[in-house]
């Protein structure tokens, strides 16, 4: 039996969580959703995920901090940042703090999302530190 890859979506925008779930579930992923950084950390403490799609700017615990904590609990977890923010400064801070694997600019469509998640799973990415 094929074990489904587990994806956690963290975004304060419900339509994004909903959309990602609706796109990824039919193509064979198991998707869980969190609307805050705190919630994401709680979920990660209990379950393992293959890829976490993490929004950067959220009220309360932001993506940077959430990523840091998750990496501390489950170091092998791959994180794909998803954000509409173009701010390089914020991204740099995020990179230094968490060490993410990929970055997807919002908005993205179905194909971009699936490509991004598969790249993350394959480890087919260039680390941002080198990229920037």
């Amino acid at each position: 039996m094929v074990i489904k890859k587990r994806i956690l979506v963290v975004d304060d925008e419900p339509s994004v969580c909903e959309g990602i779930e609706l796109v990824l579930t039919p193509v064979g992923f198991e998707v869980e959703k969190a609307l805050t950084g705190e919630e994401a950390v709680r979920i990660v403490e209990q379950k393992d995920f293959d890829v976490i799609l993490m929004d950067l700017i959220m009220p309360g615990m932001d993506g940077t901090e959430a990523c840091e904590r998750i990496k501390a609990i489950k170091p092998g977890t791959r994180v794909v940042a998803i954000s509409g923010s173009p701010s390089g400064q914020r991204l740099d801070r995020f990179l230094r703090a968490g060490g993410i694997e990929l970055y997807l600019y919002k908005p993205f469509g179905k194909q971009e999302l699936i490509d991004g998640v598969e790249k993350a799973l394959r480890g087919d990415y260039i680390r941002f530190r080198e990229d920037s």
Binding site: D11, D12, E13, P14, S15, V16, C17, E18, G19, I20, L22, V23, P26, D55, I57, I82, S83, G84, S85, P86, S87, G88, L91, Y103, Y105, K106, P107, F108, G109, K110, Q111, E112, L113
Partner: protein
């Protein structure tokens, strides 16, 4: 001897009255130069040598033991003729106190004609001599001053003719005093000023006024201009009639030239300051534009984040919906249209960021897009504005145009800017004409208006960043520079033609081939 003088005694009373009344000195000497008789004046003058009668004249009058070297009496005794000399007036102790004019006359026996004595007639000329000496000294002083002075001293008669000219004139005007004397003062004036200066000078003459620092331009013998500053005092006769003027001229050419140079320097300085001020003004408005952009950038970044979140959600949901509706082409068309609308919104957000100079790491996604549909989309947005202004829209699209591989957001920005500018240029209506056509290996899109037009000087600058002709600060001065940048990004070209009052035409060429390979590095 006494006997020979008897005849005079008859008239003694009468003669002695005359003798005493004469205010010059008179002495009568015998042929031995011994004093026989003196008048009261002599007694007064030579009171220190009294009594005078009986003494030799040189003993009594000069305190000497022998006759003087210069002595008219001596000559009269020798020649029998009258003689005259100026000799010293000697006071007590042989001290010279002044000068006397001494006349000696022979005194003869009326019967025999023999010389029996000498009458000395003595006039005190000390005061006159001193006055003459003072005059000579004064003249010498004047001459020394006139010749050593830096100023040129002069005197003119009532007609303005030079009667005296100090030698300094040679240094000032290059002419000798002899050459200047007899000329009129205005003969040396600069021809341009002559009539005016002459008038002003004679006005002062008729008033008999003293004048000071009268500035006049003269011509040196060598042709150069000499600026003089003249001061003068009228010369009047005792009745108050004007005889002329005398005064001094100072050469102030150096001062005038220095002042002129200073003026030039100060004008240059003022011009420099004006230029710098203008530059600073320009910098300030540039800075203002940049500050406005920075604010827009921050705002844009915020809006981008705010919009891109839900936009992303919407896009994913639409993609998921499309998956659900695979079986219904009609629903799929509607979904595709909705997706396009979301892409367009995303394009607007991107345009905002691009305009604000915020560059994203990612690239706006490119899709195959039909240029005619894109133009129609923009016209749809601006239709209301066109109707309001009474603008007629003429479209001429080529049907067979293949799709471009391009970003909706970027091309939207290009044609939104061009069409919006065209509408803006026609506040009172006109014709907006949009033409698309295949042109060689690309597409040509022409946006033309019949509006106010762009002046020739502005035409060169319209693609420069921050250039705006809008005085009210509404324009960012960025619209056309972004258009230019995007068109170049696609390997295309943009041209503009305009005539003030007639309208403006922008022509954009986008290559089909270049666009398919994606964005150039």
């Amino acid at each position: 001897m006494v006997h020979d003088l008897k005849r005079f005694e008859e008239d003694e009373h009468f003669l002695s009255r005359i003798f005493a009344s004469i205010q010059d000195g008179i002495s009568i000497l015998d042929t031995d130069m011994r004093i026989v008789r003196v008048n009261e004046t002599m007694e007064r003058w030579y009171a220190h040598a009294q009594p005078l009668v009986g003494k030799k004249c040189y003993e009594a009058y000069h305190g000497r033991s022998r006759p003087c070297e210069v002595c008219p009496t001596k000559r009269t005794l020798e020649t029998g003729e009258g003689a005259n000399d100026v000799v010293p007036f000697t006071g007590p102790g042989g001290k010279a106190l002044g000068w006397i004019d001494l006349y000696s006359f022979p005194l003869r026996d009326p019967d025999t004609g023999a010389l029996i004595g000498v009458i000395e007639y003595v006039r005190d000329i000390t005061a006159r001599r001193r006055a003459e000496e003072a005059l000579r000294e004064s003249e010498k002083r004047f001459r020394d001053i006139a010749e050593s002075s830096v100023d040129w001293l002069w005197e003119v008669d009532a007609e303005g003719r030079y009667t005296y000219v100090s030698p300094v004139v040679m240094r000032v005007l290059g002419y000798s005093p002899d050459e200047v004397r007899g000329k009129f003062f205005y003969d040396f004036f600069h021809p341009d000023d002559r009539d005016r200066l002459k008038g002003e000078a004679f006005a002062a003459f008729t008033q008999r006024q003293r004048f000071r620092n009268f500035v006049n331009r003269n011509i040196h013998r060598d042709g150069r201009t000499v600026w003089l500053q003249t001061s003068g005092t009228p010369i009047l006769d005792p009745a108050g009639n004007l005889l002329g003027y005398r005064g001094a001229d100072t050469d102030i050419t150096d001062e005038i030239m220095t002042a002129a140079q200073l003026k030039v320097h100060s004008e240059n300085l003022e011009q420099l300051v004006a230029e710098r001020t203008k530059e600073i003004d320009n910098c300030r408005s540039d800075l203002f534009a940049q500050a406005k952009l920075a604010a827009m950038g921050r705002l844009g970044a915020g809006i981008a984040h705010q919009l891109n979140g839900p936009l992303g959600g919407g896009l994913l949901l639409i993609d998921a919906l499309a998956e659900e509706c695979k079986e219904s082409p009609k629903q799929l068309r509607m979904i595709a249209e909705a997706r396009r609308a979301l892409e367009q919104m995303h394009g607007i957000v991107e345009g905002m960021l691009s305009m604000a100079g915020v560059r994203r790491r990612g690239r706006p996604s490119r899709i195959r897009l039909g240029i005619n549909a894109l133009l129609d989309g923009i016209l749809g947005i601006l239709l209301l504005e066109c109707t309001k202004r009474g603008i007629v829209v003429e479209k001429d699209y080529a049907e067979e145009i293949p799709p471009l591989h391009a970003s909706v957001g970027e091309l939207d920005q290009v044609f939104m800017n061009l069409i919006n500018n065209a509408v803006d240029a026609m506040p009172d209506g006109g014709t907006l004409s949009i033409v698309s056509a295949l042109a060689g290996d690309g597409i040509q899109i022409r946006v033309a208006d019949t509006g106010v037009g762009i002046s020739h000087e502005h035409l060169d600058k319209i693609f420069e960043p921050f250039f705006t002709s809008r005085a009210d600060g509404r324009g960012t001065g960025l619209g056309l520079s972004i258009v230019h940048e995007i068109v170049e990004r696609y390997g295309g070209r943009i041209q503009v033609e305009s005539e003030v009052g007639k309208g403006t035409t922008f022509t954009v060429f986008l290559p089909l081939a270049g666009a398919v390979d994606g964005r150039p590095a």
